[in-house]
């Protein structure tokens, strides 16, 4: 943590830094390299999308950033500190089945709020129920919610503990395309209101171009950063504008999907 005030350090806005990060797993006595030499700086409040061929290690990268895995090389640094494990200041949202089925909507959102007073917890829960538009479902159990509502709930549970970084692992990947479109819009709305740093893994090129400030393209395994694309279109983005399509084609080309599809 930078405690000196009044000094404008050159890294003032830096939130997350990956320094020469490499990851290898042991498999049948052999070491299999999944990620190699990943270098990336993410500023505070930035929206980053990670794309790449399936199985290339996007989720592994996210788990490293979340502190669930320890890199075999290099380090992940958040707020100038090497991370040493999971922390409520950075919450990972899973693709599906991440909400607790034994708790109601309220119970799920309040899950990480045990340390707050009853009144504060109540207030926080109400706030995020509203934010993800689950009013009227406070006492509903997840098994009675649609897939899209479950994902909103998972996002609300994550936001409720006030994290400064949100990791989303293909959060809309299991949803139908129209629900996915709606939830993207909602995520953008929430991000613009709360300005948390978001790292979003997806295999959907449209999703990446629609959401991200920068798109990080990973290569096939062992994954390296192939490209970082800056998407400088202001929100809300017109998904049929020429600039949007240009970025989209560019990204498709870089992933190599343009030729295989």
């Amino acid at each position: 943590m930078a405690t000196e005030t009044g000094m404008s350090l050159p890294v003032r806005d830096l939130k997350l830094r990956m320094e020469r990060v490499g990851m290898a797993f042991e498999r049948d006595g052999k070491s299999v390299s999944v990620l190699e030499d990943i270098n990336l700086d993410v500023s505070d409040g930035e929206f980053i999308c990670l794309v790449g061929p399936s199985g290339c290690g996007k989720s592994t990268l996210l788990n490293l950033m979340g502190g669930f895995l320890v890199p075999t090389q290099g380090s992940v640094i958040i707020d100038n500190q090497i991370i040493r494990g999971p922390d409520p200041r950075r919450i990972l949202v899973f693709q599906e089945r991440g909400v607790f089925p034994w708790l109601t909507v309220e119970g799920n959102i309040g899950f990480g709020l045990a340390k707050l007073s009853r009144a504060e917890r109540r207030e926080r829960i109400d706030h995020y129920v509203q934010m993800v538009r689950l009013q009227g479902f406070e006492h509903t159990f997840p098994s009675d919610l649609s897939g899209g509502m479950q994902q909103r709930l998972q996002v609300a549970r994550a936001l409720a503990v006030n994290p400064d970084v949100l990791y989303l692992d293909e959060p809309f990947g299991a949803l139908d395309s129209s629900t996915r479109l709606i939830l993207r819009g909602e995520l953008l709305r929430i991000w613009q209101r709360e300005r948390r740093t978001i790292i979003f893994v997806t295999h959907d090129v449209d999703e990446a171009v629609q959401l991200a400030d920068r798109v990080v393209v990973l290569s096939a395994r062992p994954a390296k950063i192939q490209n970082v694309l800056t998407i400088d279109i202001p929100h809300p983005r017109n998904i049929s504008s020429a600039r949007y399509l240009e970025h989209r084609d560019d990204l498709l080309k870089r992933i190599g999907l343009a030729y295989t599809a």
Partner: protein, 260 residues
């Protein structure tokens, strides 16, 4: 077509009643035709049941059996649930203890009768101990299995929200495994009811099991024997139905949805 597959309300009761009536009459006429002097007819069983109710010993026998089940099953749950959770949570502990437990598990509680009597003497404690043995292993195994099948996503979410290991066990692993634990408890309750009757035939002088053996020994009252057997069946059914109601509690219902 669907109307044919979905039985009407009356059919739900009609067919089971018909089956029961047929079985009863089969029983009745078998007794008549074979002219047996030993085996009672349904009517004499019914009279025997009325006699038991009149003499008021029945209620204290039922109460004794239920009390033994409550004590034995309760102790088994109180020890088996935490131990099972621990073994599921620490696979290395499971590896150490599992072989011993797997050898003890298939031993019928009835085989423990001599040891139970040596340890506790002839009396209540011995019967409770046997019930405990019958219930303990299924509960423990269900808990261990329940914990090991909790999706890692839930544990990771628990860690992510900053929970300690004890908190993850209490707030994530236990509720996630609860549906499976309930299945184990229900099975254990059924076994407890089987065991208590057997134990009461050997180790004590009260309870429904004792009623069965005593009716036979004092005057070969097979009408009372069968009456007591029927009661045992009915109470066992009631226990199971009562327990199944727990599965409808909302915080565990998600684990049973595929069954309904």
């Amino acid at each position: 077509m669907k109307a044919f597959n979905q039985p009407g309300r009356w059919e739900k009761f009609f067919w089971p009643l018909l089956a029961a009536t047929l079985l009863l009459s089969l029983w009745h006429y078998s007794v008549l035709w074979t002219a047996t002097q030993v085996f009672p007819s349904p009517l004499s069983v019914e009279k025997g049941l009325a006699e038991l109710l009149r003499e008021h010993v029945l209620w204290s026998d039922i109460a004794d059996s239920l009390r033994r089940v409550a004590l034995g099953f309760g102790t088994a749950a109180a020890l088996g649930i935490p131990l099972g959770l621990m073994l599921g949570w620490y696979p290395s502990a499971n590896q150490v203890l599992n072989p011993v437990l797997q050898i003890l598990r298939p031993i019928s509680p009835i085989a423990w009768v001599p040891i139970a009597i040596v340890l506790f003497g002839v009396g209540d404690h011995a019967a409770v101990f046997l019930v405990f043995l019958g219930a303990f292993f299924p509960i423990m195994v269900a808990c261990t299995g329940g914990v090991s099948t909790v999706p890692s996503i839930f544990r990771r979410a628990g860690r992510n929200f900053g929970l300690s290991t004890a908190q993850i066990l209490a707030r994530v692993v236990f509720p996630a495994a609860l549906p499976q634990i309930l299945v184990g408890l229900r099975m254990a309750l059924g076994i407890s009811w089987l065991v208590v009757v057997a134990a009461e035939m050997i180790a004590v002088d009260s309870g429904l099991g004792y009623l069965v053996i005593d009716s036979r020994n004092s005057g070969k009252r097979y009408d009372l024997v069968v009456a007591a057997m029927l009661l045992i069946g009915l109470i066992g059914l009631a226990l199971d139905i009562g327990f199944r109601r727990l599965e409808r509690i909302k915080s565990v219902r998600w684990g049973f949805d595929h069954e309904s």
